[in-house]
């Protein structure tokens, strides 16, 4: 079964690397952020597969952090980077 888990994880990894093409192509900053989000979701799946494949339960906690992280990055991006608040703090 481990071989199978690793194969699926490998497939997902290739998927992510493919998705990075979108970061390179853009064209808008939003498109680039999408890929980061893709990395979040797919990373969670990969980590869960590895947790079972490698027999390390702690990896599920890492997956949990990944899950939180995708959202956090997008929020940071939208609020702070893309649309910069002007003097009044309004968008």
């Amino acid at each position: 079964m481990e071989v199978f888990y690793f194969s699926i994880a490998l497939f997902l990894l290739l998927n992510v690397l493919l998705g990075l093409v979108r970061v390179l192509q853009g064209p808008t900053p939003a498109d680039r952020m999408l890929a980061a989000q893709l990395f979040g979701t797919t990373g969670v799946a990969m980590l869960l597969l590895l947790a079972q494949g490698m027999g390390i339960p702690a990896l599920r906690d890492v997956a949990l952090v990944f899950a939180l992280l995708g959202g956090l990055t997008v929020v940071a991006f939208v609020r702070r980077s893309w649309i910069v608040p002007d003097e009044n703090g309004e968008r």
């Binding site: 994880a9 990894l13 990395f39 990055t73």
Partner: protein
Amino acid sequence: MTVSAWVFDMVLAAGLPVLAWSVLHTRDLFKAVALFIAYGLLIAIIWVRLHAPDVALAEAAIGAGLTGALLLDTLGRIGSRDTIESDASQSAAGERDQDKNA
């Protein structure tokens, strides 16, 4: 180590330098930061493969997450154009044009 795990490692290890290179050599800084976040997550998966889940946890949370957020915040303030390079090339082009006119 099974073959699929070995291939997984190879793909990770090959993808990382490529990603590092593109972080440092893409034109747009914003693109570089987005790639850098992806880079951090890839590193976190490598820590997992090297049986260091504690390091992976720290890397994902503060290495990729916090650093990424800080970088995005900074770019929001100072703009994401790599101004120095583009300004230099623009002024060089301008000079060339002037030469032509003269």
